[in-house]
Amino acid sequence: MLLRTAWRRAAAAVRAAPGPRSEAPARGLRLRVVDNAPQSAVPSDTATAPDVESVLRPLYMDVQATTPLDPRVLDAMLPYLVNYYGNPHSRTHAYGWESEAAMERARQQVASLIGADPREIIFTSGATESNNIAVKELEAAIQPDTSLVSVMTVNNEIGVKQPIAEIGQICSSRRVYFHTDAAQAVGKIPLDVNDMKIDLMSISGHKIYGPKGVGAIYIRRRPRVRVEALQSGGGQERGMRSGTVPTPLVVGLGAACEVAQQEMEYDHKWISKLAERLTKKIMNSLPDVVMNGDPEHHYPGCINLSFAYVEGESLLMALKDVALSSGSACTSASLEPSYVLRAIGTDEDLAHSSIRFGIGRFTTEEEVDYTVEKCIHHVKRLREMSPLWEMVQDGIDLKSIKWTQH
């Protein structure tokens, strides 16, 4: 009893204290102060002594890789991290009951975002686990003549939106199961599992401003879709995914879904505006820039541009104060360029020149302007250093040259 009041007082003290909350980054060009130098994540060659007090961190333009936690999500999670720490499967005391109530509330929040019934949502450790359950275990569980179609809703590299409703229609008329990995789409574009006839859907927490390490899989009940469990154990989550459900994480996922539902329209308008600003400015200032992916069926927050005659990794190195990603071979561990770009028929040299700009809920106009300015400056500089640009300026057709290496 005394312990609980002590914790409550501690929690209240933390909320009232002028701690990290007051140092929350204000809108605008973000110069974040970091207070531990030996473990600095910025390999800056301009950094002075190792124990320098403040280090400038890069702007974050890589939301397809992961997103920051929305403060409202953290607010929802915190009580379940410090105070309401019961196991949601404990049936015999208030700690378990309150934790279970929170878990069910979160389940309802996730379900309502995609038009599903809460009984159709199973919590997992992330979209990858959900994909495995959907694809592998569905195959294992059913008759030989049944098949499965699995399509990404929004592609994470080029932002293209697949025609999910049409595919769902076809699959349902042919009695084929339809799974979609909606990690990049949930909470960003309107989704309804019934309108789109989706049987299975993978959801990821950390792509929608929720915590990492949690996700969900939607499994249709009517008509029933049977899957086998990937991991067996105590039979939690209707036997489909054993293991204690991590209450703080699922509360975070639920809160992220609820916030996304409220903010979807506003976010879409904001992100579209910034995306247009970025693309227009870059395309108007630089020649020979190609946007990868269909411009019409496209989620605005993921912009993949190829800057001809400039290699992607060198541009990332030049733009060292912006966190970005590239489809070039040099940035992948396998030295293979992006398979997505290859699949849409991009020329190989353009695949090496691609950069992905991610715009999210918290991206500001100043961040976009700064990124655009630096990008234009460094592309021009790298083109001056590029033998391909020189040849093109001299009127040589690059496709006519016999290169020494293949």
Binding site: L3, N36, P43
Partner: protein, 167 residues
């Protein structure tokens, strides 16, 4: 007793929430992603970027790599009458390590004779720039570029020798 315990708990909670490092420790398992100071320096303070007159008899041009591979290096050398390399220029389409390798190559060939330049090894370039294993092919391409430039220069000199012998 309980009060002391509560105080300790409060301090532990505040330590967790306020003083914990907000930056996760640097990931040491992906050295390819961390740009070495020397590599960045070659981009930020470029030396020898440019072109020499391709048609001149004293200029050897080496063009190696392919755009489809994401690596193309053009290295040019200017050689004087005594066979000493007096100037070198490069242009590269490639990652930071490729740019640095070719830039370093132009620095090293300057002042060497044509024979001495042939001894430059990719392992020396990689060591000087502290290239991680996944980037070693950049230094190999730089060595190829030097050899290609020298071969081109030698080729240009041969007809001249032939003419001299005829006379």
């Amino acid at each position: 007793m309980a009060a002391a315990g509560a105080g300790r708990l409060r301090r532990a909670a505040s330590a967790l929430l306020l003083r914990s490092p907000r930056v996760p420790p640097r990931e040491l398992s992906a050295p390819a992603r961390l740009y070495h100071k020397k590599v960045v320096d070659h981009y930020e303070n470029p030396r020898n970027v440019g072109s020499l007159d391709k048609t001149s008899k004293n200029v050897g041009t080496g063009l190696v790599g392919a755009p489809a591979c994401g690596d193309v290096m053009k290295l040019q050398i200017q050689v004087d009458e005594q066979g000493k390399i007096v100037d070198a220029r490069f242009k590269t389409f490639g990652c930071g390590s490729a740019i640095a390798s070719s830039s370093l190559a132009t620095e090293w060939v300057k002042g060497k004779t044509v024979e001495e330049a042939l001894t430059i090894k990719n392992t020396d370039i990689a060591k000087e720039l502290c290239l991680p294993p996944v980037k070693l092919h950049c230094s190999m391409l730089a060595e190829d570029a030097i050899k290609a430039a020298l071969a081109d220069y030698k080729l240009k000199q041969e007809p001249k020798k032939g003419e001299a012998e005829k006379k």
